[in-house]
């Protein structure tokens, strides 16, 4: 695709020319030597260059599945760590859903003690290589960072996520991963339903207490959204498998291809199979559609379907994979979240000639991680802001021919102060596409609630829990997207952790 298309994109994507890792490395080394000559004042720390993430060249990576972000070098990590002011009140920790001792681990990085840094993180987060990659840090730990605030922008904050990733990768690459210790057997048994981020986090924490843990997973691989949804180029699957492997080393058992509610009822687990508590972390898992005409035409996919084919089922390995992927030339992605970005970038890698993201609002309102939007723009994804389809138009064979798109403009600010998108009357126009990917979120999967009569759910089907993640049923807890609706990996982990604490308390 000509680079001209990139600039056609609406929004202020500042697109930098691509730099190789060696460039960042040399610059970091030189700066590190310079600052090491004297004690640093806070002012001097804030003057240190924010370390960019070395990435694959956009021109190259948009044709491959390898990870986009390459990771900091040692020197980059140590230099970035020097930017941290070690604030006493640590506002960053308050912004972290699992309360990692952020200044603590950064201090170790600064000292070059990467193993020590890993140990600090592992006290509260067992899956740092995943969180370092997929957390929306700019809305969490990095948002209240003192450095970022002083320098006038969250993009200038200490790059906590990148440091976390560096530490986790260092550990794994050097074979330093340690298996968390499982306490002496308590004789109690906990069932975890769903091997996604919430379930895996909960499993670790209850296993630590010495309880027997069995994780039930409907798919043939553990990881939930981390294996079916988030693409290889953003979160390598080998890494998820390695983290799940750690759980097995801790003695957590996995029952794959097991659908609680169908293969066995939740109540049977408690009443007949001797489980003392159950945690439900089944995820969102029921895709939403736009509810516009033509949505069942051939060529319209939920992002879940498109990404599952590509990721979990490996449809990109054409010739090897049994699962086919739809051949696309012109792709429309509907939505503005991370899943929309993943779908668009996946479609590009699977050979589409043009991929456009249609979003009803503007870039500022997009819920996707800033870095993903930037990466997508660099890769040539086109963004049509203030646009939303009114119908999918089909050809005589029942296949997608295009979208009828309605344009919007920003109107008066609403109660929240944001300017509301208002449709421009009569602006409907036809745009040709052969593929439409709907990435507007998920509803909750009804399977467990339908087969578990007394489990209370709200009108969206989300399981209702108290502040300790306990459901309406005795000894049954829930967390993650089945409670929150479509949220993030880290929020799911936070809920899994909270549920584990409550389970450990009642099983004492």
């Amino acid at each position: 695709m000509p680079s001209g298309n990139v600039h056609q994109a609406v929004g202020e994507g500042t697109i930098m020319s691509h730099m190789e890792t060696s460039f960042y490395q040399q610059a970091a080394q030189a700066e590190l030597e310079k600052i090491r000559s004297a004690a640093l004042t806070p002012r001097a720390r804030m003057a240190i260059t924010v370390q960019d993430m070395p990435c694959q060249d956009p021109e190259v990576r948009r044709h491959n599945m390898q990870e986009v972000a390459i990771g900091y070098t040692r020197e980059q990590a140590m230099l970035e760590a020097e930017r941290c002011l070690q604030c006493k009140n640590a506002p960053c920790v308050a912004g972290c859903p699992v309360k990692i001792d952020i200044p603590g681990f950064i201090r170790k990085v600064k000292e070059g003690d990467f193993t020590g840094a890993g140990q600090v993180i592992k006290q509260t987060n067992l899956l740092p290589s995943i969180c370092g990659r997929v957390c929306p840090q700019e809305k969490q730990c990095q948002l209240p960072c003192t450095v970022g605030k002083a320098l006038g922008g969250v993009d200038k904050a200490v790059q906590i996520g990148r440091l976390e990733r560096f530490v986790a990768d260092y550990e794994r690459e050097h074979g330093l991963q340690t298996v968390p210790h499982a306490g002496p057997s308590s004789g109690k048994r906990v069932a975890i339903v769903g091997a996604g981020p919430a379930g895996l986090t909960c499993a670790v924490d209850v296993r630590r207490e010495g309880h027997d843990v069995v994780v039930f997973e409907a798919f043939h691989k553990a990881g939930g959204v981390m294996v079916y949804g988030i693409p290889e180029f953003r979160l390598p699957k080998a890494l998820v498998a390695s983290e799940a492997g750690l759980l097995e080393s801790m003695g957590v058992q996995f029952e794959m291809n097991f659908l609680v509610g169908r293969t066995r009822k939740l109540s049977s687990l408690l009443k007949e199979d001797g489980f003392d508590a159950v945690f439900i972390g089944t995820g969102a898992g029921l895709p939403k559609f736009m509810d516009i005409p033509g949505e069942n035409l051939v060529g319209v996919f939920s992002a879940n379907e498109y990404l599952t084919r590509a990721n979990l089922m490996k449809a990109y390995e054409i010739g090897k994979a049994g699962t086919p992927i739809y051949p696309s030339r012109r792709v429309a992605v509907l939505g503005g979240g991370n899943v929309a970005m993943d779908s668009a970038r996946m479609a590009m890698r699977l050979g589409a000639e043009e991929v456009r993201v249609l979003y009803r609002r503007t870039r500022e309102e997009m819920p996707a991680r800033a870095e993903e939007v930037g990466h997508a723009m660099e890769e040539g994804i086109i963004f049509d802001f203030l646009a939303s389809p009114t119908k999918v138009v089909g050809d005589d064979k029942g296949k997608v021919a295009g979208l009828e798109v309605l344009s919007y403009q920003l109107g008066e600010p609403d109660e929240s102060g944001r300017r509301k998108p208002v449709p421009i009357r009569g602006s409907e126009h036809f745009v040709p596409f052969d593929t439409v990917i709907v990435a507007i979120g998920n509803e909750s999967n009804p399977l467990i609630s339908r087969t578990t009569p007394d489990l209370h759910v709200d009108r969206h089907g989300h399981i209702i829990v108290d502040e300790k993640q306990k459901t309406s049923l005795d000894r049954v807890y829930a967390g993650g997207d089945i409670v929150l609706g479509a949220a993030t990996v880290i929020l799911a982990m936070g809920e899994g952790r909270r549920a584990a604490a409550a389970i450990n308390e009642v099983l004492q």
């Binding site: 066995r264 199979d273 051939v298 999967n445």
Partner: protein, 300 residues
Amino acid sequence: MLDCGITQTGVFMKTEHRIVSKRQLSEEVYRIEVLAPLVARERKAGQFVVVMYDEEYSERIPLTIADADPEKGTVTLIFQTVGASTHKLALKEPGDSIVLLGPLGNPTHIEKFGWAVCVGGGIGLAPLHPIVKALKEAGNRVTVISGARTAELLIMQDEMNAVADENIVVTDDGTAGRKALVTVPLAELCAASPPPDIVVAIGPPIMMKFCAETTRPFGIKTLASLNTIMIDGTGMCGGCRVSVGGATKFVCVDGPEFDAHQVDWGQMMSRLGAYKDIEKEAHEKCHLEMSIKQLEKERS
């Protein structure tokens, strides 16, 4: 406490879904019996499973459960080699393990309707059998219409004859039973007085569509079991969606059975054909590879 699938202490075993027997019913149709104690125990008529021939590259294949033996802890699956994936599944032998998830979908609603007519076409006779059995057990009079292209492809006849009150056989070429389409005897039965109380049709989409058209003028409630494209089979992907009475439904969690008079058959069939070109290519390649393997085997 279950006697199989769970050890005495109540801990689940890593369930290995081993093929315990395999039989070729016709050139393209295979019957396998797979060890799956919990599924065998839980499944009801009308439900299906998703299988994979391996964990790495296999497609997820939805197959309706033809029978189950809770004592032996096995489920019986009957499938036709229609594409590369089912071909690879057919290469599995007794002793081999496959991936199996289930039982999925909603069970058929069984009650005493009075007179039930069950229409099965080709491979559809396999999933129809447990429904015939369940309807019979609920006290219905059950007439089966068994249809196939040719006598060689007519399956489950001993089983059907054993449970049904009547079994009307039709083939396209007249090599067994009447030379007719299933809709011919179906129309005759619908015209009887009193008419059937319910019709259940399972087979190729085109057959189910025409069964629906046949019963529609008589106003007889007609159910069809849809076998759409699916990935997870648990509601997560939406690939199986169909329009039923103008509303979008997911076959995996809302079905697989729907009111045949309400299904948008044209849309369902075009969605089924979404990957036709790719699948044809893969199937031909698979065929070729199998022939080469066969040749090599013969030579050595």
